[in-house]
């Protein structure tokens, strides 16, 4: 998943679980059945997990554009200011 997709998946998960819990509680309370509340909530958990956990394409609509390796070498990584790290390749211009 890309970043936007992760955010969407997380928000969707939270919203759906709270929604199913609320609907389940109200339905169970009105009908006077504890079991109904638990069943509605369990169904909600299963549905939410099917929608938000797998890597659906809709969560990958804003993919990150990694640079090609040949282009990336033209822009060297910043050197650490204190001790030098491992020797870097000389940059090509």
């Amino acid at each position: 998943m890309d970043w936007q997709g992760q955010k969407l998946a997380e928000q969707l998960m939270q919203l759906m679980l709270v929604l199913f819990a609320a609907v389940g509680f109200i339905t169970g309370y009105v009908l006077g059945s504890f079991q109904t509340m638990l069943l509605i909530y369990a169904a909600g958990v299963v549905l939410t997990s099917l929608i938000t956990i797998p890597n659906w394409p809709c969560f990958n609509r804003h993919p990150l554009n990694w640079l090609e390796p040949s282009v990336a070498e033209k822009y060297p990584k910043p050197q650490p200011s204190a001790n030098s790290g491992p020797k870097k390749k000389a940059s090509k211009k």
């Binding site: 998946a9 679980l17 819990a21 169970g28 006077g32 504890f34 958990v45 938000t52 956990i53």
Partner: protein, 167 residues
Amino acid sequence: MHSFGYRANALLTFSITILAVICGIASFSDNFNSPSPAAQVQVLNINWFQKKPDGDDEVSLTLNISANLESLFTWNTKQVFVFLAAEYETPKNSLNQVSLWDGIIPSKEHSKFWIHTTNKYRFVDQGSSLRGKDFNLTLHWHVMPKTGKMFADNIVMSGYSLPKAYR
């Protein structure tokens, strides 16, 4: 939320937390129930009344217990445990409570009942103070929930007494 396992874990923990919250609210909703139970007990017969060889008095009663505990049941009630206790005072103890009968009511349909029985548990005193004793019969109940807090209460019925001599 960058991997399958990460999202699965987040969903699992969040869903369990929410489950705890709705169970808490369900238990809290029991406070809005104002029950109005009714009960009546008749002592039909004193079967026998003796002093045991170890010095304690014992009495056997035939009781007719009728009660309507329908209003105790809520959507969050698993069962109601009910018991009948004889309560009296002796020189030795300021309060004696002896359980004579108990039962479990599994649902609202069974909560309006009438039972004719001898005492299920023995009515034995600590000592020999039961002759001519006035006692109360108290019907206690524990409303056991499916989740959360258990409520307990009782009804005191007074005016019962034991004979002045052994039989």
